[in-house]
Every structure is written in structure tokens, then in C-alpha cells.
């Protein structure tokens, strides 16, 4: 069929409203990565089976690689680039770093957004709840245990390893 015209859509990403012209078939991940240049959300499998593309839509974790940008119209999207509040890191960001819950980093943004959504609902989850909430995100490097530890640290249920300089500020 003939290529349908681009449509002008508006949604909020990380606190800012964006207006962009996209083909209707554009996925939310494509719009984020290639139009808005927010490359923190990754494409791992392209079909909703690995969780690397997870973003929050109205606070709920969803898969941007199989979401149409059109269905995000008018909604509030949070990507890894918007997880910190201004200069203040989200507790999940610090905790993942401090606990060594990261290696290659490719699953990281999706994993942390799932964790952030969990803590917004349930500030003190137990280990089973953490595993359940993050079960839609695959990691090939860490073996998961340190990730569960990190979410416990982020929720204040496990001690933060002491150190001189904590990464509590980050570039926006």
C-alpha cells in the first residue's frame, strides 16, 4: 500500500512534552531512540520477549519495542534518562551501581525501570516480590542475585555498602 502520511503526535517524555511527526507504524522504541535520540532504551529481541526496551508509560512498565508510538499519545513516558529527579539519582540507580548489579549494561535500563515501578507500588518488597516484578527482564551477565540485592538496597531493606563518594548526583 502507499505509505500513509506522517502523523503529528504529542506525548510527555521525562517531564517534557514532545511533538513529533511519525509514520503510524513507528514503534515507541524507534521514536525514542531515533527521533528523540534517547538511546538508553535498548532493543534486545525486537518482539517483546527480553525486557531490554522497558519504559514506564503512565508509571507502568511496558515494552516499547512492541508499543506503537501512536498509542502513547497524551501519555507520560519515563525512560532511563528521566529516572533521576533533576540531579538526584533514583535510589534504584545508586543501588544497582553500588551492588555490582550490572555488567554489560544492555539490560540495565529496562531492569531499573521495572524496579522503579515496583518500588512506587510497593516500597518494601520481599525477595519473591522483587523476582516476580522483574521477571519480565532478562539478564545474561549477572545471574540475577545481585540485582535482587540491589532492589533491597534501593528499598532500604539491606545495608548500602559504605564508601566515600556515593554517586548521588548525575548529569541530566
Amino acid at each position: 500500500m502507499a505509505r500513509p502520511a506522517r502523523e503529528l503526535i504529542r506525548f510527555e517524555v521525562n517531564g517534557d512534552w514532545h511533538e513529533l511527526a511519525v509514520e503510524p507504524r513507528t514503534t515507541l522504541l524507534e521514536a525514542l531512540r531515533y527521533v528523540l535520540k534517547l538511546t538508553g532504551s535498548k532493543q534486545g529481541c525486537d518482539k517483546g520477549d527480553c525486557g531490554a526496551c522497558t519504559v514506564l508509560i503512565d508509571g507502568r512498565p511496558q515494552l516499547s519495542c512492541i508499543s506503537l508510538a501512536m498509542t502513547a499519545v497524551g501519555r507520560k513516558i519515563t525512560t532511563i534518562e528521566g529516572l533521576a529527579e533533576g540531579n538526584r539519582a533514583h535510589p534504584v540507580q545508586d543501588a544497582f551501581d553500588l551492588c555490582g548489579a550490572l555488567q554489560c549494561g544492555f539490560c540495565q535500563s529496562g531492569m531499573m525501570l521495572s524496579a522503579a515501578a515496583l518500588l512506587a507500588d510497593n516500597p518494601r518488597p520481599n525477595r519473591d516480590e522483587i523476582k516476580q516484578a522483574l521477571s519480565g527482564n532478562l539478564c545474561r551477565c549477572t545471574g540475577y542475585t545481585q540485582i535482587v540485592d540491589a532492589v533491597e538496597v534501593a528499598s532500604g531493606q539491606r545495608d548500602v555498602p559504605e564508601r566515600d563518594e556515593r554517586p548521588t548526583t548525575r548529569r541530566k
Partner: protein, 330 residues
Amino acid sequence: MLTLPPFQFHSPKSVAEALTLLEAHGAKAKLHAGGTDLVPNMKHRLFTPEHVIGLRDVAELHRIGERDGALAIGSMVTLADLARDERVRAIFPSLSSAAAQVAGPQLREMGTLGGNLALDTRCVYYNQTYFWRKALGYCLKKDGTVCHVVKGGQKCVAAASNDTAPVLLSLGATVRLQSPRGSRELPLDQFYVADGIRNTVLEPDELITEVRVLLPQGRLVTGYQKLRLRASIDYPALTVAVAAWLEKDGTAQWIRMVISALGARPHAVKRIEHLFGKPLDAAAIDELGQAAYKQCHPLTNINVDPGWRRLMIPVFVRRAWQQALAPGPQ
């Protein structure tokens, strides 16, 4: 990267508007509920609709409520919301449990009840990219004439993999379908047909608007068990949904049991009426397991050994009944 084929996108605000679009585009259109099945299938070029009608903004389809002695669930209620709904959890725990076990958390936030009921069937030779299907010479379900699962098979054996279907069948649910031609309400067991290519009677211009489940008048017990290789982001290799109406003395006024994820249509286990009016004890449960085992024959439509899947039927039937009969809130 797998891009989507081009299409026009519509976002109607009401059922009436959606029906007008369906009337205009009919077979050239696909409905988009959560998109978790449709979008990957479009990336694989299993569907290349000219129009995609997104139902997200149809507010009337997002409601859950009691009406006329039934629980009415809008087709756009997400699986996550269904799983979180206190009333559903209290009255129909098996439905809540099934919704909570679909795929992974993100997919449940996106996927809807209507989408789950209308889910396309799956097969290892079908859910592939265009290149791989072409390399294989296509198959019965899409573009081809041979079945790679059953040599010489003339009937597609792709499997249903929706969790809510067997449960709602066991609960005797009905679905309301609307089209520009009118509206009809079907018992769910008339909604599914034993054809892997299209396993529902849903017409191209028809829309599932609502699912209705009669509220129980007495003691309803339900259970749902699912076999899969990995506890998340995995398709079921077998599902068992059970429901029974128990009298005060523990006898079952009726029993329903549905086995799915094996073939195109969820299978309501037959010839169990002789157990009605009798206590649902261990012997009865064994008999139910054997009945299910005898009536079900898994195929190699997914990468899980069919022999093992069959052996698991009585085990999962027993687990489902144990769950249903366990004391206290489930």
C-alpha cells in the same frame, strides 16, 4: 531491526466509532488492543493490515462491574488490572490467577482480556520471520499448503496459548461481540473452533466488547494450573482450568474442566457427568485426571516434548483441584 509494515492508525473514542471504522475497512483492518500479539506478528509479516484500529481510547471497554447477576468485564481491561481486581480475586480466583500468569509483567500491563481471548494460535513453524517461513516453504496457517508438524496434515494444529480462555470456559462465561451488522452474545465454548488457522468465530468486522461471568449463587471452587518451562516470559505447554459447584455436604452439583495449550481449541473434558452429585474426593480427582489424559493428544507444535506434556495432564489436573479445594482464600 524488524520494522512494521505500513498502515493507517485510527483511535476511535467509542464503540460506535470503532464499528464505523470496521464497517469502512473490514477485512483490511486489524484491531489493536494491547498489541502484544499483533505487533510481533506484524513484524513477522504474519499480518499486513492496511488499517490498525487502536481501542485504547474507548473508555466504555475498560470497565469491570456487576450487572444482571453477572460480572461484566470490558474487553480492554488489562490483564494486570484483572489480576489486581479484588472482586475478581475473591469470586473467581482462577481467573485472577490466570491473568497474573500471562507472559511477564510488562506484557500484562499492555495485554488485555479481549486481546487474550482473541489471541492468535502459535506454532514453531508459524511464529517466525518472513525469511524463515519462506525458507521452509510456508505452512498451512499462512501462505502455504503443507503442515510441518503433522506430515500430510490437512488441518492446522497451531496451539491456543491464552491463559484466560480455559478459565473463562470453565466458568461458563459468555462474550459479547459487536459488529456494524449488530450484536451477539455467545457462550465462550461456541466462540472457539478446532482450527489452528483461525480458532474463533470472530468475523473480521467484529469486536469483543465484554465478557460476562454469572455470579455464583452457592459455593464455587476454581483452580488454574499452567505448565511452562520457565516461570516467566514463556508460553504455556499445558493449561488446566477447573471449576465446580459444591453443595454443603461436599458433593459437586456440577464440574467443569478445560485443558488447553495443546491444540487450536481449548478442550472441555467430556463424559464426566457421572461424577456430578458425588463427593469430589481423591478417587474422583484421579478419575478426572484420567478422563483428561485420555481425551488429549499433544503434538509437536511447540518445542516441548508432546509425550511429556501428555503425562503432565493428570498431574496438573490434580494440582488444579487441590488448589480449588484448598481451605481459605486462594
